[in-house]
Subunit: 150 residues, 2 copies
Amino acid sequence: MRYPWWQHRLYKAGYRLTNPRQVVINILKNTDKHLSAEDIYVDSLKINSSIGLTTVYRTLDLFQQIGIVQKFDFGEGKARYELIKNPIKKEHHHHIICVKCKEIVDYTDFLNEELELINKTEKALSEKYQFKILHHTVHFYGMCSKCQAT
Amino acid sequence: MRYPWWQHRLYKAGYRLTNPRQVVINILKNTDKHLSAEDIYVDSLKINSSIGLTTVYRTLDLFQQIGIVQKFDFGEGKARYELIKNPIKKEHHHHIICVKCKEIVDYTDFLNEELELINKTEKALSEKYQFKILHHTVHFYGMCSKCQAT
DNA sequence: ATTGACAATGAAAATCATTATCAATAATAG
DNA sequence: CTATTATTGATAATGATTTTCATTGTCAAT
Protein backbone atom coordinates (compact mmCIF):
# COMPACT_ATOMS: atom_id res chain seq x y z
CA MET A 1 0.00 0.00 0.00
CA ARG A 2 1.35 3.37 -0.99
CA TYR A 3 -0.46 5.29 1.77
CA PRO A 4 -0.07 4.88 5.50
CA TRP A 5 -2.77 2.63 6.95
CA TRP A 6 -4.72 5.47 8.49
CA GLN A 7 -4.79 7.36 5.21
CA HIS A 8 -6.20 4.29 3.53
CA ARG A 9 -8.95 4.19 6.09
CA LEU A 10 -9.79 7.83 5.51
CA TYR A 11 -10.10 7.45 1.76
CA LYS A 12 -11.89 4.12 1.97
CA ALA A 13 -14.51 5.74 4.19
CA GLY A 14 -14.87 8.62 1.73
CA TYR A 15 -13.10 11.38 3.63
CA ARG A 16 -10.50 13.85 2.45
CA LEU A 17 -6.93 14.24 3.53
CA THR A 18 -6.43 17.64 5.10
CA ASN A 19 -3.69 19.36 7.01
CA PRO A 20 -5.45 19.35 10.39
CA ARG A 21 -5.99 15.61 10.06
CA GLN A 22 -2.33 15.02 9.30
CA VAL A 23 -1.28 17.21 12.17
CA VAL A 24 -3.49 15.36 14.65
CA ILE A 25 -2.22 11.99 13.47
CA ASN A 26 1.39 13.11 13.80
CA ILE A 27 0.89 14.34 17.33
CA LEU A 28 -0.68 11.06 18.35
CA LYS A 29 2.00 9.07 16.56
CA ASN A 30 4.74 10.81 18.49
CA THR A 31 3.53 10.25 22.02
CA ASP A 32 2.79 7.39 24.33
CA LYS A 33 0.59 9.50 26.58
CA HIS A 34 -3.18 9.67 26.63
CA LEU A 35 -3.80 13.18 25.36
CA SER A 36 -6.98 15.18 25.81
CA ALA A 37 -8.50 17.17 22.96
CA GLU A 38 -7.13 20.32 24.57
CA ASP A 39 -3.64 18.79 24.81
CA ILE A 40 -3.73 17.90 21.15
CA TYR A 41 -5.04 21.34 20.24
CA VAL A 42 -2.20 23.06 22.08
CA ASP A 43 0.37 20.85 20.38
CA SER A 44 -1.22 21.36 16.99
CA LEU A 45 -0.86 25.11 17.26
CA LYS A 46 2.91 24.68 17.32
CA ILE A 47 2.72 23.06 13.91
CA ASN A 48 -0.12 24.98 12.31
CA SER A 49 -1.25 27.98 14.27
CA SER A 50 -4.54 28.31 12.45
CA ILE A 51 -6.08 25.03 13.56
CA GLY A 52 -9.21 25.44 15.65
CA LEU A 53 -10.20 23.46 18.74
CA THR A 54 -13.47 22.56 17.07
CA THR A 55 -11.61 20.89 14.24
CA VAL A 56 -9.52 18.91 16.68
CA TYR A 57 -12.69 17.59 18.28
CA ARG A 58 -14.24 16.78 14.92
CA THR A 59 -11.08 15.08 13.72
CA LEU A 60 -10.77 12.95 16.83
CA ASP A 61 -14.40 11.95 16.60
CA LEU A 62 -14.03 10.99 12.97
CA PHE A 63 -10.85 9.02 13.62
CA GLN A 64 -12.57 7.21 16.39
CA GLN A 65 -15.45 6.22 14.17
CA ILE A 66 -13.30 4.84 11.40
CA GLY A 67 -11.06 2.98 13.82
CA ILE A 68 -7.86 5.00 13.75
CA VAL A 69 -8.12 6.39 17.22
CA GLN A 70 -9.33 5.05 20.54
CA LYS A 71 -11.26 7.35 22.85
CA PHE A 72 -10.88 6.81 26.58
CA ASP A 73 -13.04 8.04 29.41
CA PHE A 74 -11.26 7.65 32.70
CA GLY A 75 -13.86 9.52 34.70
CA GLU A 76 -12.01 12.81 34.78
CA GLY A 77 -14.72 14.75 33.03
CA LYS A 78 -12.86 14.84 29.76
CA ALA A 79 -11.90 12.29 27.16
CA ARG A 80 -8.43 11.16 26.19
CA TYR A 81 -7.26 9.79 22.88
CA GLU A 82 -4.71 7.36 21.59
CA LEU A 83 -3.85 5.81 18.23
CA ILE A 84 -5.19 2.27 18.14
CA LYS A 85 -2.44 -0.17 18.95
CA ASN A 86 -2.18 -3.60 17.49
CA PRO A 87 -3.07 -6.05 20.31
CA ILE A 88 -0.28 -8.36 19.15
CA LYS A 89 2.36 -5.69 19.42
CA LYS A 90 4.01 -4.56 22.61
CA GLU A 91 2.43 -1.12 22.69
CA HIS A 92 -0.96 -2.51 23.56
CA HIS A 93 -1.81 -1.96 27.19
CA HIS A 94 -4.62 -1.68 29.69
CA HIS A 95 -5.27 0.67 32.59
CA ILE A 96 -5.63 0.90 36.32
CA ILE A 97 -7.40 4.07 37.48
CA CYS A 98 -7.59 5.58 40.95
CA VAL A 99 -11.23 6.43 41.65
CA LYS A 100 -10.16 9.26 43.91
CA CYS A 101 -7.25 11.15 42.33
CA LYS A 102 -7.79 9.71 38.82
CA GLU A 103 -4.18 8.65 38.48
CA ILE A 104 -3.84 6.35 35.49
CA VAL A 105 -1.36 3.50 35.37
CA ASP A 106 -0.70 1.63 32.14
CA TYR A 107 0.02 -2.05 32.51
CA THR A 108 1.00 -4.78 30.08
CA ASP A 109 0.98 -7.73 32.46
CA PHE A 110 -0.96 -10.83 31.40
CA LEU A 111 -1.79 -9.41 28.00
CA ASN A 112 -0.55 -12.53 26.28
CA GLU A 113 -2.77 -14.75 28.36
CA GLU A 114 -5.61 -12.42 27.66
CA LEU A 115 -5.14 -12.20 23.92
CA GLU A 116 -6.73 -15.53 23.08
CA LEU A 117 -9.75 -14.86 25.24
CA ILE A 118 -10.19 -11.38 23.83
CA ASN A 119 -9.98 -12.62 20.26
CA LYS A 120 -12.46 -15.38 20.89
CA THR A 121 -14.82 -12.99 22.65
CA GLU A 122 -14.48 -10.36 19.98
CA LYS A 123 -15.27 -12.83 17.24
CA ALA A 124 -18.30 -14.27 19.01
CA LEU A 125 -19.67 -10.87 19.98
CA SER A 126 -19.37 -9.40 16.52
CA GLU A 127 -21.39 -12.30 15.13
CA LYS A 128 -23.96 -12.47 17.88
CA TYR A 129 -24.61 -8.77 18.17
CA GLN A 130 -23.77 -7.73 14.61
CA PHE A 131 -21.13 -5.21 15.60
CA LYS A 132 -18.04 -4.41 13.62
CA ILE A 133 -15.66 -4.30 16.56
CA LEU A 134 -12.85 -1.77 16.35
CA HIS A 135 -11.09 -2.04 19.70
CA HIS A 136 -11.55 -2.80 23.36
CA THR A 137 -10.62 -1.52 26.79
CA VAL A 138 -9.96 -3.23 30.09
CA HIS A 139 -9.98 -0.94 33.10
CA PHE A 140 -9.37 -1.81 36.72
CA TYR A 141 -10.65 0.78 39.17
CA GLY A 142 -9.39 1.12 42.69
CA MET A 143 -7.59 3.34 45.12
CA CYS A 144 -3.91 4.11 44.76
CA SER A 145 -1.60 3.84 47.74
CA LYS A 146 -1.54 7.60 48.29
CA CYS A 147 -5.31 7.90 48.38
CA GLN A 148 -5.66 4.88 50.65
CA ALA A 149 -3.52 6.69 53.18
CA THR A 150 -5.70 9.79 53.13
CA MET B 1 -23.67 -8.58 60.02
CA ARG B 2 -26.61 -6.53 61.18
CA TYR B 3 -26.29 -3.90 58.46
CA PRO B 4 -26.48 -4.37 54.73
CA TRP B 5 -23.05 -4.61 53.16
CA TRP B 6 -23.11 -1.13 51.72
CA GLN B 7 -24.04 0.36 55.08
CA HIS B 8 -21.06 -1.39 56.61
CA ARG B 9 -18.83 0.17 54.03
CA LEU B 10 -20.22 3.61 54.76
CA TYR B 11 -19.61 3.36 58.48
CA LYS B 12 -16.25 1.67 58.10
CA ALA B 13 -15.10 4.56 55.93
CA GLY B 14 -16.38 7.05 58.53
CA TYR B 15 -19.47 8.34 56.73
CA ARG B 16 -22.97 8.82 58.04
CA LEU B 17 -26.18 7.19 57.01
CA THR B 18 -28.58 9.72 55.57
CA ASN B 19 -31.86 9.63 53.76
CA PRO B 20 -30.51 10.72 50.37
CA ARG B 21 -27.93 7.95 50.56
CA GLN B 22 -30.58 5.35 51.32
CA VAL B 23 -32.76 6.63 48.53
CA VAL B 24 -29.96 6.47 45.97
CA ILE B 25 -29.03 2.94 47.03
CA ASN B 26 -32.63 1.80 46.76
CA ILE B 27 -33.02 3.20 43.28
CA LEU B 28 -29.88 1.45 42.12
CA LYS B 29 -30.87 -1.77 43.82
CA ASN B 30 -34.18 -1.86 41.97
CA THR B 31 -32.95 -1.50 38.42
CA ASP B 32 -30.77 -3.33 35.98
CA LYS B 33 -30.25 -0.27 33.82
CA HIS B 34 -27.27 2.05 33.77
CA LEU B 35 -28.76 5.22 35.18
CA SER B 36 -27.33 8.70 34.80
CA ALA B 37 -27.13 11.11 37.74
CA GLU B 38 -30.11 12.94 36.29
CA ASP B 39 -32.10 9.69 35.98
CA ILE B 40 -31.40 8.91 39.59
CA TYR B 41 -32.28 12.43 40.64
CA VAL B 42 -35.65 12.27 38.90
CA ASP B 43 -36.43 8.93 40.51
CA SER B 44 -35.32 10.15 43.91
CA LEU B 45 -37.80 13.02 43.80
CA LYS B 46 -40.64 10.50 43.74
CA ILE B 47 -39.45 9.17 47.09
CA ASN B 48 -38.18 12.33 48.74
CA SER B 49 -39.03 15.50 46.90
CA SER B 50 -36.45 17.59 48.71
CA ILE B 51 -33.35 15.83 47.46
CA GLY B 52 -31.07 18.00 45.35
CA LEU B 53 -29.25 17.07 42.18
CA THR B 54 -25.99 18.15 43.78
CA THR B 55 -26.44 15.64 46.55
CA VAL B 56 -27.10 12.89 44.05
CA TYR B 57 -23.80 13.71 42.38
CA ARG B 58 -21.99 13.81 45.68
CA THR B 59 -23.55 10.57 46.84
CA LEU B 60 -22.67 8.73 43.66
CA ASP B 61 -19.11 9.98 43.83
CA LEU B 62 -18.78 8.87 47.42
CA PHE B 63 -20.27 5.46 46.70
CA GLN B 64 -17.89 5.04 43.85
CA GLN B 65 -14.91 5.81 46.03
CA ILE B 66 -15.82 3.35 48.76
CA GLY B 67 -16.64 0.62 46.28
CA ILE B 68 -20.43 0.46 46.44
CA VAL B 69 -21.09 1.85 43.02
CA GLN B 70 -19.43 1.55 39.65
CA LYS B 71 -19.21 4.62 37.44
CA PHE B 72 -19.30 4.12 33.69
CA ASP B 73 -18.31 6.46 30.90
CA PHE B 74 -19.63 5.22 27.62
CA GLY B 75 -18.63 8.32 25.71
CA GLU B 76 -22.06 9.92 25.74
CA GLY B 77 -20.90 13.02 27.56
CA LYS B 78 -22.40 11.92 30.84
CA ALA B 79 -21.65 9.19 33.33
CA ARG B 80 -23.81 6.24 34.26
CA TYR B 81 -23.89 4.35 37.51
CA GLU B 82 -24.55 0.83 38.71
CA LEU B 83 -24.28 -1.03 41.99
CA ILE B 84 -21.17 -3.17 41.92
CA LYS B 85 -22.05 -6.71 41.01
CA ASN B 86 -20.26 -9.74 42.32
CA PRO B 87 -18.21 -11.16 39.40
CA ILE B 88 -19.20 -14.68 40.44
CA LYS B 89 -22.90 -13.97 40.28
CA LYS B 90 -24.96 -13.87 37.14
CA GLU B 91 -25.62 -10.15 37.18
CA HIS B 92 -22.05 -9.33 36.27
CA HIS B 93 -21.74 -8.25 32.66
CA HIS B 94 -19.63 -6.32 30.20
CA HIS B 95 -20.45 -3.94 27.39
CA ILE B 96 -20.33 -3.39 23.67
CA ILE B 97 -20.69 0.25 22.64
CA CYS B 98 -21.42 1.72 19.24
CA VAL B 99 -18.91 4.51 18.61
CA LYS B 100 -21.42 6.29 16.41
CA CYS B 101 -24.88 6.14 18.00
CA LYS B 102 -23.61 5.17 21.49
CA GLU B 103 -25.96 2.21 21.75
CA ILE B 104 -24.91 0.04 24.66
CA VAL B 105 -25.32 -3.73 24.65
CA ASP B 106 -24.75 -5.75 27.82
CA TYR B 107 -23.26 -9.16 27.31
CA THR B 108 -22.48 -12.04 29.63
CA ASP B 109 -20.81 -14.39 27.15
CA PHE B 110 -17.43 -15.87 28.13
CA LEU B 111 -17.54 -14.40 31.61
CA ASN B 112 -16.75 -17.75 33.17
CA GLU B 113 -13.70 -18.20 31.02
CA GLU B 114 -12.69 -14.70 31.90
CA LEU B 115 -13.14 -14.98 35.65
CA GLU B 116 -9.93 -16.83 36.37
CA LEU B 117 -7.83 -14.49 34.27
CA ILE B 118 -9.43 -11.44 35.80
CA ASN B 119 -8.86 -12.69 39.33
CA LYS B 120 -5.26 -13.53 38.64
CA THR B 121 -4.69 -10.16 36.96
CA GLU B 122 -6.43 -8.27 39.72
CA LYS B 123 -4.35 -9.93 42.40
CA ALA B 124 -1.07 -9.35 40.60
CA LEU B 125 -1.87 -5.75 39.74
CA SER B 126 -2.93 -4.82 43.24
CA GLU B 127 0.40 -6.10 44.55
CA LYS B 128 2.59 -4.71 41.83
CA TYR B 129 1.01 -1.26 41.67
CA GLN B 130 -0.22 -0.99 45.25
CA PHE B 131 -3.83 -0.39 44.31
CA LYS B 132 -6.80 -1.56 46.30
CA ILE B 133 -8.87 -2.73 43.34
CA LEU B 134 -12.61 -2.26 43.60
CA HIS B 135 -13.96 -3.35 40.24
CA HIS B 136 -13.19 -3.60 36.56
CA THR B 137 -14.75 -2.95 33.18
CA VAL B 138 -14.35 -4.57 29.80
CA HIS B 139 -15.67 -2.57 26.88
CA PHE B 140 -15.73 -3.50 23.23
CA TYR B 141 -16.17 -0.55 20.88
CA GLY B 142 -17.43 -0.86 17.36
CA MET B 143 -20.18 0.02 14.98
CA CYS B 144 -23.64 -1.45 15.31
CA SER B 145 -25.41 -2.89 12.29
CA LYS B 146 -27.61 0.19 11.86
CA CYS B 147 -24.68 2.60 11.83
CA GLN B 148 -22.67 0.38 9.47
CA ALA B 149 -25.51 0.75 6.95
CA THR B 150 -25.46 4.54 7.13
C1' DA C 1 -33.80 13.15 75.84
C1' DT C 2 -30.40 16.97 74.89
C1' DT C 3 -26.47 18.91 73.11
C1' DG C 4 -22.32 19.97 70.54
C1' DA C 5 -19.23 19.01 66.78
C1' DC C 6 -19.01 18.62 62.39
C1' DA C 7 -20.66 15.93 58.30
C1' DA C 8 -24.10 16.46 54.90
C1' DT C 9 -27.44 18.99 52.34
C1' DG C 10 -29.81 22.05 48.80
C1' DA C 11 -30.11 26.19 45.91
C1' DA C 12 -27.81 28.90 42.96
C1' DA C 13 -24.02 30.28 40.44
C1' DA C 14 -19.81 28.97 38.23
C1' DT C 15 -16.96 25.95 35.45
C1' DC C 16 -15.49 23.62 31.70
C1' DA C 17 -15.59 20.06 28.05
C1' DT C 18 -17.99 19.42 24.05
C1' DT C 19 -21.26 20.65 20.19
C1' DA C 20 -24.01 23.57 16.93
C1' DT C 21 -24.07 27.34 13.66
C1' DC C 22 -22.64 29.44 9.60
C1' DA C 23 -19.89 31.94 6.44
C1' DA C 24 -15.31 31.24 4.39
C1' DT C 25 -11.92 28.03 2.43
C1' DA C 26 -9.74 23.95 0.52
C1' DA C 27 -9.75 19.25 -1.65
C1' DT C 28 -11.02 16.31 -5.34
C1' DA C 29 -13.63 15.05 -9.75
C1' DG C 30 -14.13 16.09 -14.35
C1' DC D 1 -8.84 25.12 -14.16
C1' DT D 2 -13.43 25.15 -12.43
C1' DA D 3 -17.39 23.32 -10.13
C1' DT D 4 -18.92 20.73 -6.39
C1' DT D 5 -18.71 19.54 -1.79
C1' DA D 6 -16.37 18.44 2.28
C1' DT D 7 -13.99 20.76 5.68
C1' DT D 8 -12.67 24.44 8.45
C1' DG D 9 -12.44 28.10 12.19
C1' DA D 10 -14.63 31.66 15.08
C1' DT D 11 -18.16 32.21 18.01
C1' DA D 12 -22.00 31.23 20.64
C1' DA D 13 -24.63 27.72 22.86
C1' DT D 14 -25.20 23.62 25.48
C1' DG D 15 -25.24 20.62 29.21
C1' DA D 16 -23.06 17.81 32.72
C1' DT D 17 -20.70 18.37 36.78
C1' DT D 18 -18.63 21.21 40.63
C1' DT D 19 -18.19 25.01 43.80
C1' DT D 20 -19.92 27.96 47.27
C1' DC D 21 -22.10 28.87 51.39
C1' DA D 22 -25.68 29.20 54.62
C1' DT D 23 -28.69 25.76 56.75
C1' DT D 24 -29.82 21.19 58.50
C1' DG D 25 -29.18 16.43 60.14
C1' DT D 26 -26.47 12.69 62.30
C1' DC D 27 -24.40 10.58 66.09
C1' DA D 28 -21.60 10.17 70.19
C1' DA D 29 -21.28 11.88 74.68
C1' DT D 30 -23.54 13.61 78.13
